[in-house]
């Protein structure tokens, strides 16, 4: 894992993935959760009202069953029918609540890397990249540019030359890094992390934490992390909200 050393934050010029991730974001958005309340079958499950500044990582902690993951599902736009949610999700002034999941531009990172098994490693990264930016150019140059971005992105996470590999041949840590890069290449305006480190073993967990938090801070992405590992919260360095079994 020597390649990860090159990824440490601070003083490094913007990487390819970051540059493609967009100058339009340089102003930095804040993620505002306005009077969010989630009910389960008419009974209140949890509520939250907060603001996450650009580059800030807000950690939500609490025992399982208090609705942490349900909250993320509501924010991302796939609340299960058993729940009802109210309150607004805003990126600066843009109300995301009425938008379908695919238009919210919220980067989602699960505890499993969930690399699509029917695509190659490079294909997974390409899957996350937006298309419209390159509409003007001819198809061939577009494709070349995308391939170049993918190769550069893989190099950044120490996986140069892995584009054609079958994701199942990767190690756990390699998959986690590809998953992170896939989200970043999709140019999210904010990040939602659903216990992203809980399935990694101890040494990898440390590396992934610094990798994720460095990226998030440098790109100025407001980030909401759900976890029940206190070390995650400490590493994030941001505010922490403890959710108890309220009702």
């Amino acid at each position: 894992m020597t390649s990860l050393d090159a990824l440490s934050p601070g003083g490094v010029p913007l990487t390819i993935a970051e540059r493609s991730a967009g100058d339009d974001l340089s102003t930095g958005h804040a993620l505002i959760l306005e009077n969010i309340r989630i009910d389960q079958g008419g009974r209140p499950l949890m509520s939250l009202d907060t603001r996450i500044a650009p580059g800030e990582v807000l950690t939500l902690m609490g025992p399982s069953g208090v609705g942490k993951s349900t909250l993320l599902a509501y924010l991302a736009g796939f609340l299960a029918p058993a729940f009802t949610g109210q309150g607004r999700v805003l990126l600066n002034e843009t109300d995301l609540t009425r938008l379908p999941a695919e238009a919210r531009q919220l980067g989602l990172l699960f505890q499993d890397p969930l690399l699509f098994p029917h695509l190659s490693v490079g294909g997974n990264l390409a899957f996350g990249m937006p298309r419209k930016a390159a509409r003007k150019a001819s198809r061939q140059t577009t494709r070349k540019a995308r391939d170049k971005t993918i190769e550069a992105a893989l190099e950044e996470i120490g996986l140069a030359g892995f584009a054609d590999r079958d994701p199942t041949t990767l190690s756990g840590g390699q998959r986690a890094r590809v998953a992170l890069m896939r989200v970043l290449l999709s140019r999210p305006c904010a990040m939602l992390l659903d216990e992203p480190f809980s399935k990694l073993d101890a040494s990898l967990r440390h590396e992934m934490r610094s990798l994720v938090f460095a990226r998030v801070q440098r790109l100025g992405l407001p980030t909401l992390m759900v976890t029940h590992d206190e070390a995650d919260a400490n590493a994030a360095g941001g505010p922490v909200i403890e959710l108890g079994a309220q009702y």
């Binding site: 796939f78 029918p81 379908p100 695919e102 699960f110 098994p117 029917h118 899957f127 079958d166």
Partner: protein, 565 residues
């Protein structure tokens, strides 16, 4: 891509319409002539005369009795075998092996299995040759009536052989839904012997989940035509076979009686289902005290032995049938007590080849069309569940089983009458649509489980990366489900290949497929040619399954995550 969501949302309704309208219309189309009204044939007044003719038919009571007993007995025996097998072999390697063999077994067309069994168990069949002249002492074929024994035993055997794999498959799919493993382990830890644990802890949860498939089995067995034509008695035959004979009677006025008889068939099938339902109540109330009586062991060894024996017997029957078919197709000269024909020759195959071309193409084309249509509707209906964010309503599942529970002979004949009345030409299109009625439910049942169980996070990842529902469908869901979709297609294709009645009725006998040819050959005397057609009937679905197995392994050989999810 704007069209994606509305298109997908309409497919469940299209599927429902395809399944329910022909059944309802067909029943209406048979009701009117049964009451004397069929202007195309000069029937323009309502009368009960045709019912009187039907009731006066000699042997009608025997026909009804045969249909009822074959339906109930074969379902009961099949259910017993499946439950004993599951109880005795739950959580063993044998189960995993059987699970893998199931789909190909299901793919064996009914007619082919029936022909194989007839060849195996007939007086001059493979079974009696193997015990002759020693130890049986038979120098000439023994004198017993099989197939076609008056009690319908041959028919019941033929039905059981085909129903066991189907019920087994449905049960295996249902077991995880009723937490079978946890229930079994709990009961075992409380000191219950394996089979008793299965019967007392798992069965009460499993049975309600496989009730509809069982009803489909009873309905099929009580109304089936081709198995009864090959293995059932002929004077009198089962009611469904009699209906087909009347339909094909050159005297067109017999169609009125046929209509009345088709409705009677519906009543018989409903009666069989009603009797079974009463039996369910009875067993439930009788077993209530036994369930909690605390007895840890109730003849476990004997029942497990019976289960093993029955399974072995079923395997031997199927294997022997297949062997018999192969031998007959290669036989030039095969006098009675000889266990093997000698010499072996390809004569029958060579002779059959020119005639095979047309039925083979017809079968393949009809099968591909019906499978394609069913697959599109099934995938659309399942995708609609995702779009609407909730699963299928209970009534929709009943509609799915409609063509499997209403006797085909009743509603298909009604459709033929409507076709005649409307002046539509019978032909390939009508046959394809009629096949789809039976292909669609199986394709749906085969695919639904995998489609619904696909990890929802794949969709969430794709959406959060900015992909629309349409893009998610084409670029994520379909590729991830390549293997289940191809398997469902193979199942659907095999169902279509095996269809006899829809082809016969909807084409007015003008289209010949492998199955219609095999069934009509089976009633003749040429065993060699019959064997060739029965084997071709087996070969085509087998080819489908081989493709479903090999294609993804070839095309996605560098994507092991799709192949071994």
């Amino acid at each position: 891509m704007r069209l994606f969501s509305p298109t997908i949302r309409t497919t469940p309704w299209l599927a429902m319409a395809l399944l329910s309208l022909p059944v309802a219309g067909g029943l209406a189309g048979v009701l009117a002539p049964a009451l004397g009204w069929l202007p195309a044939l000069g029937g323009d007044e309502l009368t009960l005369e045709h019912w009187r003719t039907l009731v006066a038919t000699p042997g009608l009571a025997d026909m009804v009795r045969l249909s009822l007993s074959a339906g109930l007995a074969s379902a009961l025996i099949s259910l017993l075998i499946v439950m004993l097998f599951l109880g005795a072999f739950a959580e063993t390697r044998a189960l995993a092996l059987v699970r893998r063999l199931l789909s190909p077994l299901l793919a064996v067309p009914h007619a082919a299995a029936a022909i194989g069994i007839a060849f195996l168990l007939a007086p001059s069949g493979l079974a009696s040759r193997l015990v002759s002249p020693w130890p049986s002492g038979w120098d000439t074929p023994p004198d017993y009536l099989f197939p076609g024994d008056p009690w319908g035993l041959g028919l019941i055997i033929g039905l059981v052989v085909k129903e066991v794999p189907f019920l087994l498959l449905m049960s295996l799919a249902a077991l995880p839904q009723c937490q079978a493993q946890a229930r079994l382990r709990l009961a075992r830890s409380l000191g219950y012997a394996p089979l008793t644990a299965f019967a007392k802890a798992v069965l009460p949860g499993l049975y309600p989940l496989i009730r509809l498939p069982i009803y489909a089995v009873i309905a099929f067995a009580s109304a089936n035509v081709e198995v009864a034509m090959i293995l059932g008695p002929s004077t009198p035959p089962t009611l469904a076979v009699a209906v087909v004979r009347w339909i094909n009677d050159p005297d067109l006025s017999m169609r009125f009686v046929a209509s009345a008889a088709a409705l009677l068939q519906l009543a018989v099938t409903l009666a069989a289902l009603g009797l079974w339902w009463l039996g369910e109540r009875l067993v439930a109330s009788l077993s209530r005290s036994a369930l909690t009586g605390g007895r840890r062991e109730a003849g476990d060894r004997i029942w497990a032995g019976a289960g093993g024996l029955a399974t072995l017997l079923a395997v031997l029957l199927l294997g022997g049938s297949l062997m018999g078919l192969v031998l007959w197709s290669l036989a030039a000269w095969w006098p009675f007590p000889a266990a093997l024909p000698s010499p072996l020759s390809l004569h029958a195959w060579q002779g059959a080849l020119p005639g095979l071309k047309e039925p083979l193409t017809q079968t393949a084309l009809i099968g591909l069309a019906a499978t394609g249509l069913s697959l599109v509707l099934t995938v659309g209906a399942l995708e609609a569940e995702h779009l609407r964010n909730h699963g299928m309503a209970a009534w929709a599942e009943l509609v799915l089983y409609l063509p499997l529970v209403v006797p085909p002979v009743a509603f298909l004949f009604g459709l033929v009458q409507l076709q005649v009345q409307a002046g539509l030409a019978p032909g390939a299109l009508a046959v394809i649509l009629a096949h789809s009625l039976f292909v669609l439910p199986y394709v749906f049942l085969s695919l639904a489980e995998s489609y619904r169980r696909l990890d929802p996070r794949w969709a969430q990842v794709a959406a959060s990366l900015g992909h629309s529902p349409a893009s998610l469908f084409w670029r994520v869901r379909l590729p991830l489900l390549t293997i289940p979709i191809l398997t469902a297609a193979a199942v659907g294709f095999s169902v279509s290949v095996g269809q006899y009645l829809p082809t016969l009725l909807m084409s007015a006998g003008r289209l010949s497929t492998l199955t219609t040819e095999a069934v009509s050959l089976a009633s003749g005397g040429d065993r060699r040619l019959t064997a060739v057609y029965a084997l071709m009937q087996l070969l085509l679905p087998a080819l489908g399954f081989a493709l479903a197995l090999a294609l993804p392994r070839l095309l996605m050989r560098h994507r092991s995550g799709v192949l071994n999810p």
